[in-house]
């Protein structure tokens, strides 16, 4: 019989507000094997952990049940505490009375009843727990970074500088990401390209960094320390080793009317193109969907004009399979589509643009060579209206519930730059709140108002009405004057909400990493492990985890890199000891378990057995603990029940079932 201690956590009021913890303690004491039960404000705290440690020592506990938050949160914490007290860590079970109970039930009596049952199930399981010893697994000393924006580049550089190999996989033909599309950066107003390009070059030149552009992650298998990843290198149709990046092909390409993604579709590009001047690699790619050669078989202008003979129409997608110890996700963001916001006339008027489009319009390398002009008639705008929170902070189904965080600052930047360059232009910003929490951020915003004369009006724009003369009528409210405003503008800039890259769901699924309802990757702990995914070996860098600006992104990228380095620095990881184990006396040697094992962890050996006096040689299953990941597929296939899973044994699960149905 075990000597079990039960520890019930209040989690402040998170649990205690809906679950009568004292009652849980009282009921737990009545369960078989329980020799100690107590509650505490925060079991995961140092004080809470020492309560567990002391009880193990004083009461000679052989098993521990902690009724607290999800085992995905603190199982490791409590196992470590038990280990400190000399108890095998696998003698600890968690009853999840927070996520699965107190947080979803409102009625105290009902929640308490359920918490008691969950505690009973955990106690029943601990009663059948056996000490387990973890094994070891190898760490592949290479990291994969998914996404080649500033977040991915920074993470890759930091990991590579620590001496580990890093591969960057970027979906687009060049690394650089969103930051490469920006003109200037707040709050210092330095040019985005000037600070990003050196980083791109450094990454490309780094001997430890290998960049796969125009490539996508196709398949991920394995686990922390030992991921196997298939990377699809999409056919570029250009031989990277031959191309000199001269750009003649793009000039000669007759298919020139394709919206230029880099310029947000504000101008056109050719079918063979280099996305932007500072692209890395500086090698074009053929957009096969729009290439005349691929569509009709005729043309071939690029091949004819390529002096290096680099054009290769026959090139095929290539799958590269590589092993990695750690994976950093840096998939970034996009701005939301505005087709549901009719009132702002985004799709009716060319002069209603998003802020990211404005970045391109103001950029010297952009479609207007940096001259601010109306896209409808090329005239310089005299009255510009900025609209904040377009699709952010919305509880309707058109927008996003969160604050996009960067818009207040970039709008102040835009307003300031316009007033600086075109002092006779009137700039009005309609805002709900101006949010400037950041170093030198509020000073920056104040400068826009006080020094540059940007007109900030507290109130929201209700409607933008294109006028026959080409101007735009902006209808808004001024909440401080309690007035309705009708204002003529010739350009309206919308601060559209940002959202995670649409591919992130697919990638998260491959990585078995959690994502939230807004498609942001979930961190292992919102406060304490903000750059790790709950899935071991997966780290989060940049906006894929939540809205953030460049300095925050770079900081997080570095933090994710450090976490990855910490993992790669280990030679071995301890493996999950919850592996399958065959009982040689009950095993039929029928090979069914081997057939379903995804890891090839089961083999057969002829062994001498003594089955209650019958001595014979039998073919029995043997599990390789280093390969077994503990899924349990074999245990169900085994008709005799000879195969069992340590830590989740048949009897344990049945005991839990019994405790719940009791």
């Amino acid at each position: 019989m075990q000597r079990i201690g039960v520890f019930v956590c209040h989690c402040g009021t998170n649990i205690a507000a809906t679950v009568d913890v004292k009652k849980v303690v009282e009921m737990a004491k009545m369960e078989p094997g329980v020799v100690h039960a107590e509650d505490y404000q925060y079991m995961c705290s140092e004080a809470g952990q020492s309560k567990i440690i002391n009880a193990i020592k004083e009461k000679h506990l052989t098993g521990v049940v902690v009724c607290s938050c999800s085992p995905r949160m603190h199982e490791a914490t409590f196992r470590k505490a038990a280990e400190k007290a000399g108890l095998n860590p696998y003698m600890v079970e968690i009853a999840n009375i927070r996520e699965h109970c107190s947080w979803i039930h409102k009625d105290m009596e009902e929640a308490t009843k359920k918490a008691v049952i969950l505690a009973r199930a955990a106690i029943a399981k601990v009663n059948l727990d056996a000490p387990l010893q973890p094994g070891e697994s190898q760490v592949t000393k290479r990291a994969l970074v998914i996404g080649g924006g500033i977040a991915g580049i920074q993470s890759a550089l930091d990991i590579a500088d620590a001496g580990y190999e890093v591969d960057i996989v970027e979906k687009l033909p060049s690394i650089g990401g969103r930051m490469s599309q920006l003109d200037k950066t707040f709050p210092t107003l330095d040019c985005s390209a000037c600070i990003l390009t050196p980083k791109m070059v450094e990454a490309a030149a780094h001997e430890k960094i290998n960049i796969y552009t125009y490539s996508e992650v196709e398949k991920v298998s394995g686990f922390v320390g030992d991921f196997t990843v298939d990377i699809r290198k999409k056919a570029r149709s250009v031989d990277m080793s031959k191309c000199t990046g001269c750009g003649v092909c793009s000039q000669k390409c007759p298919s020139k009317k394709i919206p230029n993604e880099f310029n947000r579709g504000l101008n056109n590009r050719s079918a063979i193109y280099i996305p932007f001047a500072q692209a890395i690699p500086n090698v074009p790619v053929i957009d096969r969907e729009n290439c005349i050669k691929f569509k009709t078989g005729k043309c071939g202008a690029c091949a004819k004009n390529c002096a290096a003979g680099a054009i290769d129409y026959e090139q095929q997608d290539e799958i590269v399979t590589k092993k990695y110890g750690a994976i950093v996700v840096a998939t970034g963001f996009d701005v939301i589509k505005l087709d549901q916001y009719d009132e702002y006339a985004y799709s009716q008027s060319k002069d209603v643009i998003t802020s990211l489009e404005l970045e391109r319009l103001m950029n010297a390398a952009g479609p207007t060579k940096g001259h601010l002009e109306r896209l409808s008639d090329g005239k310089a705008p005299k009255n510009i209206v900025f609209v904040q929170c377009v699709g952010s902070r919305c509880s309707d189904n058109r927008g996003k519930s969160y604050c996009s965080k960067i818009c207040c600052m970039y709008t102040a930047k835009h307003a300031m730059l316009i007033r600086d360059k075109y002092p006779d232009t009137n700039v009005t910003v309609f805002y709900i709140d101006v949010r400037t929490p950041g170093k030198n951020f509020d000073e920056f915003y104040r400068r826009a108002v006080e020094e540059y004369g940007v007109n900030y009006i507290k109130g929201q724009v209700g409607k933008v009405i294109p006028q026959p003369d080409g101007t735009l009528m902006v209808q808004a409210s001024d909440l401080l004057d309690n007035k309705q405003i009708l204002m003529e503008a010739d350009m309206v800039v919308l601060a559209a909400a940002i959202e995670p890259n649409k591919d992130v769901r697919k990638i998260a699924t491959m990585l078995t990493a959690s994502i939230d309802t807004n498609n942001f990757l979930t961190e292992a702990h919102a406060k304490l492990r903000p750059v790790e995914s709950p899935t071991a070996g997966i780290f989060l860098s940049g906006v894929c985890q939540g809205p953030k600006d460049i300095p925050e992104t770079v900081a997080q990228a570095g933090a994710a890199a450090v976490k990855a380095i910490g993992l790669l620095a280990k030679d071995k990881l301890t493996t999950n000891p919850c592996t399958a184990k065959a009982d040689p006396l009950a095993c039929n040697g029928c090979s069914q378990c081997m057939n379903v094992c995804p890891y090839g962890a089961i083999s057969y050996e002829d062994v001498q057995v003594n089955d209650h006096g019958v001595r014979e040689t039998r073919r029995v299953a043997v599990v390789n603990n280093a390969l077994c990941q503990g899924c349990g597929a074999c245990t169900v296939t085994c008709p005799s029940g000879a195969m069992d899973l340590q830590g989740f044994s048949n009897r344990q699960i049945i005991a839990e079932v019994d405790a719940i149905c009791r």
Binding site: R72, E99, I104, K114, R505, V596, G630, C631, N650, I653
Partner: protein, 147 residues
């Protein structure tokens, strides 16, 4: 019959959740405060393929009114193939239970990813409602287990 027989029916529902997707989905439902009835009790298993038909029959024997198995979506299994085996096993088992006359609404498999807190909660709400409509499970229960 005692007077208590009129007492409101509170079904006993056992939910087996795989550690990687569905248990995390249930956690997400919790942290998003997405309410579902307390009748649902979750048992954590490493993978949906760990669930032995014995466990399900055992639950019914001990008085469960419904058993639901949640795992990663096909193709997303943490162990790559576990849920495919679970899918075949459960299809056959459920068909057999239906064959011997156990209402097929009492068993269910749902694929719930770690991101689908909403789906988890919705599924549990639906399932509890279904069990309510079916009433107490009397066909598989071991009457000795009734209290």
């Amino acid at each position: 019959m005692s007077i208590e027989a009129k007492e409101e029916f509170r079904p006993k529902i056992v939910a087996f959740c795989c550690n990687w997707c569905s248990y995390a989905g249930a956690d997400l439902a919790g942290s998003s405060r997405l309410v579902y009835p307390a009748d649902v009790k979750i048992i954590r298993v490493p993978c949906s393929c760990r669930v032995n038909p014995m466990f399900i029959l055992r639950a019914f024997e001990k008085g469960a009114d419904g058993v639901i198995l949640c795992g990663c979506h096909p193709g997303d299994c943490h162990y790559t193939t576990g849920n495919y085996y679970a899918r075949r096993r459960m299809t056959l088992l459920f068909s057999m239970l239906d064959f011997i006359g156990v209402e097929n609404g009492r068993t269910r498999v749902e694929w719930v990813s770690a991101a689908e807190g909403v789906k988890f909660s919705q599924t549990m709400n639906e399932f509890v409602e279904k069990i309510h409509s079916l009433g107490k499970n009397v066909r598989l229960e071991d009457i000795r287990c009734r209290n």
